[in-house]
Amino acid sequence: MADTSQKAPWREMGLKDSEYELIKERLGREPNYTELGMFAVLWSEHCAYKHSKPLLKTLPTEGPRVLVGPGENAGVVDIGDNLACAFKIESHNHPSAVEPYQGAATGIGGIVRDILAMGARPVILLDSLRFGPPDDPRTRFLFGGVVSGIAGYGNCLGIPTVGGEVFFARPYAGNPLVNVLCAGLMKHEDLHRGGAYGVGNVVMVVGHSTGRDGIHGCTFASDVLGEDSESKRVNVQVGDPFMEKLLIEACLEMMASGAVVGIQDMGAAGLTSSCAETAARAGTGLAIDVGKVPQREGGMNAYEVMLSESQERMLLIVSADKVEEVKRIGAKWGLHAAEIGRVTDSGNLEVFHNGKLEASIPVSLLAMGAPEYTPEAREPEYLKKTRNLRDEDIRAPEFGELKDILLRLLASPNIASKEPVYRQYDYMVRTDTVEGPGKGAAVMRVKGTKKGLVFTTDCNGRLVYLNPAAGAAWAVTEAALNVAVTGARPLAITNCLNFGSPENPEIYWQLKEAVRGMGEACRVLETPVTGGNVSLYNETDDQAIYPTPIVGMLGVLDDIEKRIDPGFKRPGDIIAVLGKVWGDARSLAGSEYLEIAHGMVAGDPREPDLDLARGIIDVLTEGAGEGVFSSAQDISEGGLLVALAECCVHGAEGARGCAVSPKALGCGEREDIRVDGMLFGECNTAAVVSFPADLEEKVSEICKRHNVPLSVIGSVQGSSLAVETCGGLRILEVSVEEILSAYKTGLEKSLKG
């Protein structure tokens, strides 16, 4: 063992032999140990996107509102009134799999610093989480740790955690997903970049001292999890949210002082990546001395300082005459603000240790020289089986079973209220949260304007597993509809592509197809991708996760007073479906119903009708602007019936019941329609709205204008959810009390039962 690592230390560090040869060739010599370590972290999949870059280039990234696209620390979107929103989602899956509390906590820390690096004040967080089955003790341990890690770190920062998702499924058992979205606000002129511009400018490290924690964290993040992963707990960084809070305030003050030329988070690969990336963006070089980096333990060598992933640190490029100002602000907040080097014109990253040269590597080679791989892609075998789901394979439930099925769906941890989770998060601090977690997308006011910002994260991995292109397109469509049902206009997305090992042709095919589907949906819905993150090698013991390309979407409400929410408002209001509910067997593909009631994960999900989705978005935003809708809700997990139940759950006092008949949706007209398909099918491009009866004509007009079918299915009434067939037979009646009880207690019961 010692022998191998002596002969080929690059393998231990995660580099392939061919990559080592490439380094030697480009460098024209053997790299020394420190240099090799620097290459290993920056050329890791996590930092270099070796397997995903060619695919990512196919995504649409431009639009009239995009101020900064992919390539910087975060995307930035113009939201009007001279304001801009920086937002990005990032994964912290591997650390959370072995050390859930710190893994999740430092995941927040990292993405918050990315937003800060753009010059924005971080103002909201959302968490998109995936776990194994809730009755698995390991899941309970991971779930508890992740949720309290998010609470422990996020609450202390004073950034509200306003939304996200939690989804449980067996493929995530060994490899949970922890994706964190952060957004920040700034004026246009406050935009900063991560570039080491200006030869002679000073390189400074601000924030926490540097220790030996997290060395090779991103190499660990670029490997599959195995039996020895527990031993990699030492690779997981430890977070200090108090330090991060001070760092935010100090950096904002330093940027406001005009001292900061460039700024970059020291996250994955620490000092190595921040130095290489800032210099690469500016086309300059850096000469730094690691002996000048404030250290929390003695005797650290250059290798350790360069590779440390100690948290709560930022790299600043400061004009020479402003160094004292930066130091003064650092001292005010009790932080280190140390000069460690200068910007040079050498094009090299030169690392000294107390004056002795320890490493010298061309910046372009380090930051941009990693090879790109286009591995073999092969359609997965399992699809032959799952795709082949016929009408007769799904036993049609008796009418008498429907109530029990609905209550089981509402109690399913994937659908039930997530209050046991979000009540642990401070979602109100900063006093901008108008709609917090629990109802759908989060709605935030922007002080000093009439505007609202709307955020959501979405992705149903089960659908992506069954049809990656369609599933990824659904993730975008669902996110867009989630935003639009508040009345907001979807503007842009950030994505986090969570997949297994790209070296497996079947997984690479999933990735390729998902990126294709996502790109198509983003093009039609005009929501460009402004940045994000790729997390590969999410597997344990040959069990890959469901392919999970999470979409984080930003939307804008021009007038926050005109927002809509899912809850019914008044008895007598008409309930209608915008769009199309298929109602056939295929629409049950990958549904929660199919898994819960029939124990099947199967089918071939249809692609969303993107033009129709566009029309629905237009109808919702226009209708909200004109104040015609009392409520609006998208149709996702659990289908139409669960969507209606949620409208009841969130309904106003006296408006928590409804009676509907799917007659208007075409039942009785088409042969392939099934009752369960109609009620529980998920792949529908549709939304449920309610409005006062006297506005029906106006709603109908708006729908016609945008070519969106409008089907009136019932009205708000009574104190139960009642469904009739097209023949008028009442096939289901569930009291609101029963709905509430199932919905509110479902998650806790499944985690504690």
Binding site: K245, R423, Q424, T431
Partner: protein, 236 residues
């Protein structure tokens, strides 16, 4: 009349209190850095919520040693008004300006939610615009709000009308279910003997605008202004 909002390292509701005082109510308001010792010119101070010094060691335990606290003691002696919200309440307890201590929530988890509060004493500078016994809705967000004091101290607080807010159900009953953190006798907020220092765990600054779901908290600040203007309920 002027409010000061003290900023400790780690305060994170400072800008929320400042926003309500200045932008919603229109009061004169300034931030006070924790190293400042000069409180002249201020009539009332807010010790805001957050995680001062990361709440390391114990909530509020380090903030009480901030330089500004020396001046806060004098400020209180002079009969000026101090309101400590959430972490600010914890700091007031650690500083000995209010009796008792905070324990972790009995549920052993952070809790962010709306609660019902009964205004138990409306003859204070902080509550004179509420109706006696009024039930209001206010958010909480804390991990350590389980108020504790010796039984004799609690009895004295009850007797002297120093329990200002209690967690109650929608009908005003201080039930076990209505108590989100296990606080002794459902206590959510208390005042000092002199009546010029209020500590409370709930966040009135988070419910001072209808857009945020309620405005029951605004009258806490308006009551302070009314007292300062008229001298009502102020100690001499």
């Amino acid at each position: 009349m002027k409010f000061g909002v003290v900023v400790f390292p780690g305060s994170n509701c400072d800008s929320d209190a400042y926003h309500v005082l200045r932008d919603v109510i229109g009061a004169d308001c300034e931030y006070v850095w924790h190293e400042s010792r000069d409180l002249s010119g201020f009539d009332a101070l807010v010790l805001p919520g957050g995680f001062s010094y990361g709440d390391y060691l114990r909530c509020g335990a380090l903030a009480r040693f901030s330089p500004v606290m020396d001046s806060v003691y004098k400020f209180v002696d002079e009969g000026k008004l101090v309101i400590g919200i959430c972490n600010g309440f914890q700091i007031l307890l650690e500083a000995g300006l209010l009796p008792g201590a905070m324990l972790p929530n009995d549920v052993l988890e952070f809790r962010c939610q709306w609660v019902n509060l009964k205004v138990e004493n409306t003859s204070t500078p902080f509550t004179n615009l509420y109706k006696p016994g009024e039930v209001i809705r206010v958010p909480i967000a804390h991990g350590e709000g389980n108020y504790y004091a010796e039984p004799e101290v609690l009895d004295e607080l009850e007797r002297a009308g120093r329990i200002v807010f209690r967690y109650v159900d929608a009908y005003g009953n201080p039930t076990r279910e209505a108590n989100p953190n296990g606080a002794a006798r459902n206590i959510a907020g208390i005042i000092n003997e002199k009546g010029n220092v209020l500590g409370l765990m709930p966040h009135p600054e988070r419910c001072s605008e209808s857009l945020l779901g309620g405005e029951d908290g605004r009258r806490v600040f308006l009551s302070m202004i009314k007292s300062l203007e008229t001298g009502a309920f102020l100690s001499k």
